[in-house]
């Protein structure tokens, strides 16, 4: 494979880091948001400029400094990293527009702090996406954990403190307690931490040791929300909604899943896991998370908590897809990162828009809201179709590949898990959407007058809902990137 050295990946990471002094020093909030847009646009431009080369099969590498023998702070842009970076940096722009509407609409305090840590979190996210080795990945993973803490705890009240504690306990506790020792043991075994297309641990340890390491990694990256390390995510919903939207539907949780996928493909390698039959236990853990997460979502009344549990379930789709270790399953899993991101961010945007416009958080208080906020609720409907996995939305495509993957891997039971999950998704989204539009005048809780959230809130959710549909028909470049990555891994 061709590799070229370029500073672009480092720049893509640094852009949002370097903009924080500008954000801190701007005295006027319009100037501040202007800087955020500039940084977001530059970031997207840098990331996008690397897409053609990556699609050509070129890898872009850049080494910052060697810190241990054989381990450097090093970036490598491959197809999978590009897919994730593209999703997160494009959604940053949309979320920034939304943040302006939301934060100003609610007159939130400490907006400068909010935008600064948001920018930091994005730096870390792209850093994770472009990491060339486990050490760099860990560095940015931890940076993201700490950068999101002030965002989760934004309200600075007792509830925020409680949730912040839970967030740290799960996220930092697992990364220091499980990932760090596992990483050191791997380094001690292999003498390197560089991701390889068939894993760098292949042929180094006994089956027992490899198994222990695998589960230390999989549970250690608790941002992936695999049960039993999932309950930080519903707790983190105390954050302002744009944070939940971008970080807890896209960046943070997807970083977790991204890390798990990297572990499976880059650290252990599909051949090693196939030969030890370690794919199956991961599949069952993921299936358990999918079903239990969906069942819990059914019982939620708070809309954001419902979305949180839905996210937990959907994240395990990705883990499941990759753990199938079959080409189609992996394609579906990776593709689901993009599809779910656009769908779920729309849903969060809608929840936030409803909160800004009406102050309501609970589903039981939203009967008839479709008449008051038709655009928002239509977008909600479209996005929920995408999550369920129905055409005409992008979610259908990834779910289709996941289903094909289960057939390819000969896991019929898992096929039923996926189908049951779709039914459950429909069961928790559709009644809400139905009641929002179709209710008797007596039941309706809102006046029959159209009154949407501020324009800055509505436009982003329309854009993302629209993209959710488009992605079924034009799944490029995401589909191309996912299949290229799978081709590199499996050689097929």
């Amino acid at each position: 494979m061709e590799t070229i050295t370029s500073i672009k990946p480092l720049l893509a990471v640094l852009v949002s880091l370097l903009v924080t002094p500008m954000l801190l020093s701007s005295r006027n909030q319009n100037v501040r948001e202007g800087w955020t847009f500039v940084a977001a646009a530059i970031k997207l431009a840098i990331v996008a400029s690397m897409v053609p080369a990556v699609l050509h099969g070129t890898e872009i590498v850049y080494t910052v400094a060697e810190v241990f023998p054989g381990v450097a702070i090093k970036f490598k842009v491959d197809a999978f990293g590009m897919l994730f970076a593209l999703v997160s940096s494009s959604l940053w722009i949309v979320t920034t527009i939304y943040s302006i509407g939301y934060m100003r609409g609610l007159k939130e305090h400490s907006q400068t702090r909010y935008f600064c840590f948001f920018a930091l979190a994005l730096s870390a996210t792209v850093g994770v996406a472009f990491s060339a080795n486990l050490f760099t990945l860990y560095l940015f993973y931890e940076m993201l954990s700490f950068a999101t803490y002030p965002l989760v705890a934004h309200h600075q009240d007792r509830e925020a403190r409680r949730s912040g504690r839970k967030y740290l306990l799960y996220i930092v506790g697992t990364s220091i307690g499980l990932v760090l020792p596992a990483m050191l043991i791997s380094y001690n075994l292999a003498g390197t931490l560089d991701f390889a297309s068939q894993g760098f641990l292949a042929g180094t340890g006994s089956k027992t040791l490899i198994g222990i390491l695998l589960f230390m990694f999989i549970f250690g990256f608790a941002k992936a929300g695999i049960m039993p390390f999932h309950s930080w995510l519903p707790a983190a919903m105390v954050a302002p909604t744009p944070v939940s939207a971008l970080l807890h539907a896209v960046a943070v949780v997807k970083v977790g899943v991204f890390c798990v996928v990297r572990i499976i493909t880059g650290v252990f390698g599909t051949d090693l896991l196939l030969s030890f039959h370690f794919g199956t236990p991961i599949i069952y853990i993921a299936s358990f998370t999918i079903l239990v997460g969906s069942f819990i979502a059914l019982s939620q009344d708070n809309l954001k908590r419902l979305l949180a549990f839905s996210t937990i379930a959907q994240l395990s789709y990705i883990v499941l897809g990759v753990a199938l270790l079959s080409p189609k399953g992996m394609t579906g899993g990776m593709l689901h990162i993009a599809m779910h991101a656009f769908g779920k961010i729309t849903l969060f945007f809608c929840a936030g828009a409803i909160f800004v416009a009406t102050g309501k958080k609970n589903i039981s208080e939203m009967i008839g809201i479709g008449r008051r906020m038709p655009v928002t609720l239509t977008a909600f409907f479209i996005a929920s179709l995408s999550i369920i996995g129905m055409p005409p939305c992008g979610g259908f495509l990834s779910k289709w590949y996941l289903v094909l993957g289960t057939l390819e891997a000969d896991q019929m039971l898992i096929l039923f898990v996926l189908l049951t999950s779709s039914l459950l998704n429909a069961a928790y989204f559709m009644p809400f959407v139905y009641k929002a539009f179709f209710c008797t005048p007596k039941e309706a809780m809102f006046e029959n007058k159209v009154q949407e959230a501020p324009l800055c809130c509505v436009v982003p959710l329309v854009i993302t809902a629209f993209i959710s549909i488009i992605m079924l028909f034009y799944p490029q470049p995401f589909f191309g990137l996912a299949s290229l990555m799978v081709k590199n891994i499996t050689g097929l």
């Binding site: 810190v67 241990f68 700490f146 220091i176």
Partner: protein
């Protein structure tokens, strides 16, 4: 000029200590510039020396031209060159920051403070630079006595806790002296290189064994290695901020250096690790030190004392790393001398700034500090991340080597203790961040916090602190170079 760096390093601060005392009678305002200049020269020479050692290898400097073993010789190799740089840089940055807090706390005692301060740094530098075992004892006492003076200039309870330290410290120094006495009896020499040459045939002797163990116990007492730590927390807590931010980063670390020097230069790794069956016991003691340090820190409701207990745990890191008896562990321990000195300086400077503005360091005094002192707290976050061990701050990298050493030695208790202590550090520091960030609570869902005006410490205190915070990250990023160009050569090749 550059030939005289080893002498300049010690002589300049020594003479300036007298100059400061004299200036104190004439014009008090002169004391501070003299101290800064002297420590600046020392810092400059130590950096120059480090580069010379990296180019030329070991430098032998005969004081006054007298040849060893009769005369005193300074040996500067990679190991003490880097420790010298750390000592001088910490002392230099801290003295700048000390000015304001001295003016606030006891302006009338400024002259004795600076004189003792510079004299103490002289003592520490002497300990590090000397190649003579008895000379080391003398300098140890210089550093200790001036240290008692500095620490006693504090709160009401400072004299009492310092007295406690004085007893323990004196016992420790006596132990060391006794051990050196034994060595002198069997070898007839006090020069370290000379002793090392004469010792190997005598390794079966009980006297040599006794000398080694007695020296070790003395040094452990001085570095507050659990359970010999009892003097440290109170002595450091009750002292005035600028004294504790000099002594806390340096004294324990210099004593770890002395321990390494004893084990690697005076004795040989073969003797220490192969002949003596102590290795496993000491590492387990280190494990207990780490765990107990962390737990005792957790029990504190007082920032400064909590940090003091963290030092106890960190001493366990270094002792354990050294006694693992492999290259990775030793690398980690030496790297941690550098890193821990810097990060301890960082957090103690933060305490200094807080005390300067808030007049307290109990947890209740810390409410709303993120808003009031954003720069100080920013540096505090970096220091805390380093103590927790989050990359790219330097604390992560030494912890990496220490854990790797534990894995390679098969000592999983030590590995578990390090992970445990990292997790406890997360709790320790985020507990403080929570107080600084959330409290005082406003009941209104956080929407209308009363706007608190910024009340940051003066620039003379904030700037050195920020420099330290940046150094923490830079040292982290340059770990590869530090290890490959300096620490690698500080460890004998026999140690794998």
């Amino acid at each position: 000029m550059s030939q005289q760096y080893p002498a300049l390093l010690v002589i300049v601060p020594l003479l300036s200590a007298f100059a400061i005392s004299i200036a104190g009678w004439m014009n008090k305002r002169l004391c501070f510039p003299i101290a800064v200049t002297a420590l600046g020269v020392a810092a400059y020479s130590s950096i120059g020396l480090l580069f010379r050692v990296m180019d030329e290898g070991v430098i032998v400097y005969k004081l006054g031209g007298w040849a060893p073993p009769m005369g005193i010789a300074y040996y500067i190799d990679h190991l003490n060159a880097i420790v010298l740089v750390v000592v001088t840089i910490v002392a230099f940055l801290n003295v700048i920051s000390a000015k304001k807090s001295i003016e606030q706390e006891f302006p009338e005692k400024a002259a004795p403070f600076y004189a003792l301060y510079v004299l103490m740094v002289t003592g520490l530098l002497g300990i590090v630079v000397t190649g003579d075992a008895f000379n080391l004892y003398v300098l140890l006492e210089i550093a200790a006595l001036t240290g008692y003076g500095l620490l006693a200039m504090g709160e009401e309870r400072a004299p009492l806790s310092t007295l406690n330290y004085l007893y323990m410290g004196t016992i420790g120094a006596c132990f060391y002296l006794l051990g050196v006495g034994y060595l002198y009896i069997v070898t007839g020499s006090l020069n370290m290189v000379d002793i090392a040459r004469l010792l190997p045939p005598l390794y079966q002797s009980k006297a040599v064994l006794a000398a080694f163990i007695i020296c070790m116990v003395g040094v452990w007492l001085k570095m507050a290695f659990f359970p010999l730590h009892a003097w440290l927390p109170n002595a450091y807590t009750h002292a005035t901020s600028s004294a504790s931010s000099l002594i806390a980063p340096l004294v324990t670390k210099v004593m770890v250096y002395v321990m390494i020097r004893l084990m690697l230069t005076i004795f040989t790794p073969e003797f220490v690790f192969a002949t003596l069956a102590l290795q496993n016991i000491v590492v387990w003691l280190a494990v207990i030190a780490i765990v107990m340090g962390a737990i005792l820190a957790l029990a504190e409701r007082n920032l400064k004392k909590m940090l003091a207990f963290i030092i106890v745990a960190e001493v366990g890191y270094m002792v354990g790393g050294v006694w693992l008896g492999n290259r990775a562990g030793m690398t980690g321990a030496i790297l941690h001398i550098v890193n821990d000195a810097l990060m301890t300086l960082c957090v103690f400077l933060v305490v200094g700034n807080i005390v300067y503005k808030v007049k307290g360091y109990a947890f209740e005094d810390l409410q709303g500090l993120f808003r009031k002192m954003p720069f100080t707290m920013g540096a505090f976050v970096v220091g805390a991340m380093s103590i927790i061990g989050v990359p790219p701050t330097c604390g992560f990298f030494s912890k990496w080597y220490l854990i790797l050493g534990g894995l390679q030695a098969g000592h999983y208790g030590f590995v578990a203790a390090l992970i445990f202590s990292s997790l406890v550090s997360v709790v320790l520091f985020f507990r403080i961040f929570e107080i600084c960030y959330y409290e005082p609570f406003s009941d209104h869902h956080g929407h209308d916090h009363p706007p608190q005006p910024m009340a940051e410490a003066p620039p003379l205190m904030v700037v050195p602190l920020l420099i330290v915070a940046v150094i923490l990250i830079l040292v982290g990023l340059y770990t590869g170079d530090i290890v490959n160009h300096i620490i690698k050569f500080a460890i004998p090749e026999g140690l794998v």
